[in-house]
Every structure is written in C-alpha cells, then in structure tokens.
C-alpha cells in the first residue's frame, strides 16, 4: 500500500509559479498582489451527501474545484490558489490517479495552483477545498449591495442538476433527450468565473445559487434589506424541460433544488445593454427574472402576477423537522 507521503508526492505535488512555496512544507507561502485583496472560501463535498459513491473520480476532482470557484466567481474574484483536504476510506491508486487528473486539468484550465493540503483516513470520503482569489476589495460583488429598482438576473439554465438527481430515484419522469445535459450539469458544472469578473463595476450585488435560486435570493434579501420579486415563467430552464409542461409545483422544485452553479445578480436598469453584450461575448445565457423591491423576502409570481407557493426554498443539511 502506498504511504501518505508517497501519495501526496505522486498525485498532489506539481511545481507552482505564483506560490513561492507550495505543497511540502508546514505551510505554503504566497505573495500578495499589492493592488488586490484576497477572496477566500471553503466548500466540502461528502460522499453520500453531495456525490454518489460510484461517481467518476475524474469529474469529482473537477467538481470539488468548481463549487469553490463558483463562490469566488460570485465575488468577482480571479481564483489563483487552492488547498485540498482529502479524507479517504482507502487508498485506491486508480481512483487517486483519476481524481488527481480531473483536479489538475481543471486547475490548468483556470490557471490555478494547488499549494497545500492534508490527507487522512476516514470511513467516508470527505473532500474540502479552500480557494483563494484576487479581487479589488472595494469593488467585489457582495450580497449586501442590492438596490431597490435593480433588475434581477441569472446566468445559465436552472434545474437540470436537480432533475438528474430526481431521475436517479425515479421521482420525476425523465426526458431521455436531457440525459447528457443533466448529468453534465450535476457532475461537471462550469463555474462562471469569467462572468463574475466581467460583472465587476456592472452588477451591484451577486451570489452563487448552489443552495437553490429561492434560498440564495433570500440571502440577498436579508443582507441587502430589500425584497426580491421573481417571475417563475422568466426563470431559464432547458428548452426541452420547458416544453414538457411540468406541473408548476414540480417546476418550482426543480429550479429551487440547488446544485446550479450559476450567478444570481442585481444591477441597475441602465445596465441592460451591458448584460446583453456580456451574454453574447461569453456565450452564456443571462436572463432577467425579476426586480429588487421595497420590503423583505423573496416572492415568486406566475406570469399573471399570482403568488406561487414555494414548499422548500433550497437545499439544507440540517433542515428543521416539524
């Protein structure tokens, strides 16, 4: 069996450029950019909670980065360094090789360096990543800056990851044509890093909606002390999904289910053309789904202005049981 130090050396140590000192000392050493602050975030994926035991380790290596890059994207930050904490059930080399391959390809794609980490044994696979990015402190996209009168926008198409999950336990009739798209969104999400950076100076406020559109809109409402009104029919889903004519309740569940690594942001109405340009240049659908209003809370309405009830606004690990 491979030793802990061999494991790190074989799968998780590559030369770094930006880091003065990467994996292999007590701590990594990073130079500060003098003109930028640091955005830093951590997200953990747990086997059986966030991913299935049989999931492809290559895509898991990508996803554990994607979920963190998505948080940095929501601040408008450029990711540059990550630390990886890996708690493994066993030390299966084929699994590690594939996980490391997915991880490093994603790192290369985003020009990010693995600078440190920890490897330990556990009964269940638990993967924590801490990601650091550069951002100008004063112009970072915070949750507490939405303005009454702003439009509310969302990137991408929502609900496919939740549909992939629902289809696994057959709780939703699954349109076969969506198989690839759904699995891609669930297993290989694309963090909106380029969009986040372009939204600096354009959006007033942004959040990533990995916990679900309604729950995360709620965080903007609370922290910006505003109300958010969202029109259900304007929420972008996949063309095939919208053609299915799902019952409204199912549609609401799908778009609130979480695991959508998209950005929800608000900006002044005068910015509408800028958003159109961004959408074309980045080749990302960006859709206006509502408005920031006086008051508090998130209201979902149908196209006739009738309020739509939301049973379960988002994903929670410790949900209140009544």
């Amino acid at each position: 069996m491979i030793s802990e130090f061999e494991l790190i050396s074989k799968y998780f140590r590559k030369l770094t450029n930006r880091a003065v000192l990467g994996v292999g000392d007590d701590a990594a050493l990073l130079r500060c950019s003098h003109d930028a602050g640091i955005a830093i975030t951590t997200d953990t994926l747990v086997e059986g909670v966030h991913f299935f035991s049989d999931c492809d380790p290559f895509f898991l290596g990508r996803k554990v980065l994607a979920v963190n890059f998505s948080d940095l994207a929501a601040m408008g930050a450029r990711p540059h360094s990550v630390l990886l904490s890996l708690s493994l059930r066993e030390c299966e080399e084929s699994w590690l090789a594939s996980f490391s391959d997915g991880l490093y390809r994603m790192l290369e794609e985003f020009q990010v360096e693995l600078v440190g980490g920890d490897t330990t044994r556990a009964d269940q696979l638990v993967i924590s990543v801490t990601a650091l990015g550069d951002v100008d402190i004063g112009s970072a996209l915070r949750r507490d800056r939405a303005q009454v009168g702003d439009d509310v926008w969302v990137s991408g198409e929502l609900g496919l990851a939740t549909l992939a999950l629902a289809s696994r336990d057959n709780s939703v009739a699954y349109p076969h044509e969506l198989l690839d798209d759904c699995n891609k969104r669930l297993n290989n999400p694309e963090p909106r890093v380029a969009l986040g950076r372009r939204l600096i100076g354009v959006a007033n406020c942004a959040i990533d909606i990995s916990d679900g559109l309604m729950a995360d809109a709620g965080h903007i409402s609370t922290q910006s002390k505003v109300g958010i009104a969202v029109i259900l029919d304007q929420i972008p889903t996949h063309r095939i999904l919208s053609q299915l004519g799902l019952p409204q309740k199912d549609l609401v569940s799908l778009i609130s289910g979480g695991d959508d690594y998209e950005l929800l942001f608000t900006c002044s109405r005068s910015r509408e053309n800028d958003i159109g340009t961004l959408s074309r240049e980045l080749k990302i659908p960006i859709t206006k789904i509502g408005a920031v209003v006086e008051g508090r809370g998130v209201i979902l309405k149908d196209r006739f202005g009738k309020i739509v009830e939301v049973d379960r606004p988002g994903y929670e690990h410790f949900s209140r049981r009544t």
Copy 2:
C-alpha cells in the same frame, strides 16, 4: 432541529476587524499586508482517527486550531484568519455550543478571526481548518534551509501525548502522576507561535513535529539534502518519564509517536546563547538534541554513540503493510 444557517449564525459568526467581510458572503475578503506574504495551511481532524468520539468538544475546538497554528509557527508566521469546515453527524446544540466556545477562546487568545467556512452532514465528525498568517516571504522558516554544522534543537517535552494514547489501551504502564500532563498535551496542545516568530532570523530551518520527531526530522533531511544525527538521551521528556527507566525501545516509540506540537529547528552554533535567552523569555524548554551532518537520513544514537534502531519513525495514515 436548528437549520444550517441558524447554526452558522448562532455558533460561528462574530464580528471581524481585519477581514473586510467575514462569514456570510460567498467568500471572505481580506486585505493584504503590503510588507508581508501569506503563509497558509490546512489540517483535518477525523473522529476515531485523530480524536475519540467522547472527547470534550471545548478542547476539540481549541485543538483543531492548535494543529494549524503549529504549522504556521513552524514557518515563523503570525496567524490572523481561519476558515472552518465542519462535517457533523448530527446537530447537537450542547456539543456545538461547547465546541464554538473552545474555538472562539483560542481565536481570542491568538487574536485570530474566523472569516469563513462550511457546514455539512457526514456519518463521522470531520473538521478541517485552513489557517492564514503573515510572514515575510524571504525570512520564513522553511524545511529546506538546514546547513551542515547547524545544531538541532527541539522545544518542549516529547512523548506525553503518545503516552496518553498508549495508556488508553493499557499498552504502556502508566505513571499516575503524569495523568494530567499527558491529557493536557494530547487534548490541549499549545502551539509555539511566539517561539516561531522569535526564531525568524535566528534559525535556518524549522518544522513542526506533529507526525513524530524522527519522521519530521526526515523531512528536513530530504528537503535540505543533509543528514540529521540525534542523540536519544538528549531528547527532552517529562522528568517523571525519564525517571521511569523505560526500555529504550519504548522510549523511542514515545518520542516518535507524534501529536507533539513542538518545533524542531536548526541553527548555527553561534546562536546558542540566543536560544538560551529565548527559552528563558518565553518560559519554554528548548533543548539541543543533535547536529546537521553531511549525508542523508536521520540517525538516532545513544549516549555511547551506538546507533538506535527506530521501528516506526512516525504516524502515518496509510502505512505500508508488508
């Protein structure tokens, strides 16, 4: 049952000073010190691997910080910010209140801020902390700077944490007078942050010996491309322990067992008086235990110069099974 967001808000959100934005957005925002680099490290503690299920959550809250601060100390860095990733079996409020209490008291003691984190559910308690500190990049205490001719020093007294563990399964006869000391070293270790900072400009090289003296000396040997010669009889242990007259093999196991959050460092012979001054001022035992020599590897000798065999140089999660 408390919700995930209530849990964070109740137990893990206090105002921060240095952080421009702490817990509660997609990422935390930190200002860079213009004259310093960043030292960053992550360490994970797993229930049943690094601590017992029945351990006191107050001390666990301290220890999960201590193990990370110890890594920063070994770089000569001053810790300022941490992120906490908590995977919980269940959400027991009395446990959380005590864990949070221990954590925040330790943060206050070291003037460090909790700036972010993640809370999730798992079958086993897994706690990852990422800690950031300030350090001047050029003078940080690295593992690869030991010089042939340096003396090798270690702080504190080794072996008590391993003895506490061994005594739990009755594998070692336990001197009753050491009970409190042993449990304190195991459950409430004191990271050598002040010492690490004072070693800047004095030591050539440093490492924290949480994986065990011999294993960690081996890292210095490999990375500095030198040999390390250690004299067993000079390795500091508790007075009572050294009076026990343990068989040499047991003594070697104790001092190599790990979980000693002490610093091993090397410095030029001309610095001997500085180390004495440091020891007195910081009220920490600091003992010369050997020398950096030509060659590779770590050699342990007894007082007569006879080589002492080391069966198991340190703690490994995935040890090679032959």
